[in-house]
């Protein structure tokens, strides 16, 4: 009897369309995603599976760009271990096993006339690109890097881009908050994705200035679909699943109103 690979709704073997190294350890992959691209929204993520039977859990990777006309999805990811290292070796035409799109995504209601910060830190930068494409308002991108820049030029067509680097090699020396303060930037609403200390600082700034604030969170996941309760975050209000104060990052998020979550 032959072993058949039959995946359920949502989990599919797709094809790599293009793969490129953007800078040291940061890769960009376009995936022929068929109707998965049509269903995708900015701020959602994909679960990618390795081909290795010893590494079983999906790797959640945020969606960087959506090309609905061509049915393509782009991910930009950092090589951080076994799984992402394997993905980085995939060549165009090779299979890539994907479940998604997962999670809620950023709210996109018309912010006409309002000014927005799109704040990305490190590997939290990629999801801001599709958001920049789809959000209709005045946008200022504030991007924080350790040292090597990536994607910053691709943001330029959506508005002014402000860069911060930890080593001061480009833009403001320091973090995204330092860049906002140094440049004297102002906004009415902020969307952010990045490491937790950055999200905390963005939340504090938003509260201080009375800005609406949306944060995209990251957490270790197992199922990615809301069943295992592995990736919860502390929430202000009772969650819909367990009626405690633990929202699921994979299902209730990854995007939350800042006031909704404790960081």
């Amino acid at each position: 009897m032959e072993k058949t690979e039959s995946f359920g709704k949502g989990k599919r073997t797709l094809k790599v369309a293009a793969q490129e190294c953007l800078t040291e350890g940061i890769y960009s992959m376009w995936i022929e995603a068929e109707d998965m691209a049509e269903a995708a929204a900015p701020g959602q993520f994909l679960s990618l599976y390795t081909r290795d039977s010893g590494h079983l859990l999906p790797r959640p990777v945020s969606i960087c760009e959506i090309d609905r006309d061509k049915g393509m999805l782009r991910i930009v990811y950092r090589v951080a271990g076994f799984g992402t290292e394997e993905f980085s070796r995939y060549q165009p035409g090779e299979p890539v096993i994907v479940l998604g799109p997962l999670g809620n995504g950023f709210p996109l209601e018309d912010k006409g006339g309002r000014r927005a910060f799109l704040v990305g830190g490190g590997i939290g930068i990629p999801p801001m690109l599709q958001l920049a494409k789809e959000l209709k308002c005045q946008k200022q991108m504030v991007l924080g890097y350790r040292d090597k820049l990536f994607l910053n030029e691709e943001f330029a067509r959506f508005g002014p881009v402000f860069v911060a680097t930890e080593d001061g090699s480009a833009g403001t020396r320091g973090n995204v908050l330092d860049a906002i303060k140094e440049q004297g930037l102002e906004a009415d609403v902020v969307y952010a994705c990045g490491p937790k200390p950055m999200l905390r600082a963005v939340k504090d700034l938003a509260m201080e200035r009375g800005m609406e604030c949306w944060l995209s969170l990251e957490e270790r996941m197992a199922c990615g679909v809301g069943a295992c309760l592995g990736c919860v975050c502390r929430s202000k209000d009772t969650d819909s699943h367990s009626h405690v104060k633990n929202k699921r990052v994979c299902k209730d998020g990854p995007v939350f109103a800042a006031g909704e979550v404790e960081l």
Partner: protein
């Protein structure tokens, strides 16, 4: 061809069910698989009141499996009765409710509350390694196993499955203790206590330090324990631990399991349960097996 099996008088259309804690109450995976195709859905553990569970990180991958220390986060029996049971009742599958507790009274309260509910069996979790009170504390001492089994049996209206821990020296002794306490069925194995160190952060991968290991790497241990338990008691056994495909499921059945639960495999193949049902049927057809009973405990 007959794939029906019976657990304490409850007939299942096939021996394939979900493992508690990996499938919620079915709603999330209902988007991927037809729940009507499953022998039973075993729910995430439910306590008398909501439990918040452990801090994160709660999960970590290890080679061939994973560690979890969720800590039995659950909405409590009130929400469960109002929301989850009616959801599952829409499907033609058996409902097995996993019951957890910190104290003996917690277990009894949940079992009692479920007495008038349309659920088929109760699975008593005395083997969770991730909670400080209750859980495994009831599952590692044979006397405690017998006592909690007897107490639950005394109150429960539905047949009772005792879910056993592999973190014991002699699984046969634990199985006999459950049988002596009046258990109708035993299920095993729960997860094995494990640990992972994050060498870059120089700390534990899980906030709870230790977690329960599951996934295909534990399967040979689980098959061995199911076999030993089957030799030790006359009770029907639900076998689980690292099942990812129909071949794994048949190993458990031949080792003595009447039914099998699929857990961690759901996380990397949401369709695993139904594929296993189909694989068992195809195997039976190819091998000319008329009744799955011929395979249960076929290896002695």
């Amino acid at each position: 061809m007959n794939t029906k099996v019976s657990l304490a008088g409850v007939e299942l259309k096939n021996p394939v069910m979900t493992a508690s804690g990996t499938f919620g109450s079915g709603a999330e995976y209902g988007e991927f698989v037809d729940l009507n195709r499953l022998g039973a859905v075993v729910t995430k553990g439910v306590a008398n009141v909501p439990w918040e569970g452990n801090p994160t990180p709660r999960v970590a991958e290890v080679r061939g499996g994973m560690l979890n220390a969720i800590g039995l986060q659950n909405p409590g029996i009130d929400v469960f009765i109002k929301r989850d049971i009616p959801f599952l009742r829409q499907y033609d599958t058996r409902i097995i409710v996993n019951v957890c507790g910190k104290t003996r009274e917690d277990y009894l309260e949940v079992a009692e509350r479920l007495g008038d509910q349309p659920v088929d069996l109760l699975e008593i979790n005395i083997s969770c390694p991730n909670v400080k009170e209750g859980g495994i504390a009831f599952g590692q001492d044979p006397k405690a196993v017998e006592a909690i089994t007897r107490a639950v049996k005394d109150r429960a209206k539905q047949p009772v499955i005792m879910k056993l821990s592999p973190n014991v020296t002699d699984i046969g002794e634990t199985a006999r203790a459950a049988e002596a306490g009046g258990a109708d069925v035993i299920s095993l194995i729960n997860t094995l206590t494990g640990m992972k160190i994050d060498i870059n952060r120089r700390t534990f991968a899980l906030a709870n330090k230790t977690g329960g290991m599951s996934g295909p790497a534990i399967k040979p241990i689980a098959v061995r324990m199911v076999y030993q338990a089957a030799q030790a008691v006359k009770l029907p056994i639900i076998g689980m631990g690292g099942i990812v495909d129909w071949e794994d499921a048949l190993e458990f059945i031949m080792a003595g399991a009447t039914a099998v639960s699929v857990g961690t495999a759901n996380f990397f193949n949401p369709y695993a349960t139904v594929e296993i049902v189909e694989g068992i049927q195809a195997f039976m057809k190819e091998q000319g097996v008329q009744d799955i009973q011929e395979l249960i405990g076929a290896v002695r």
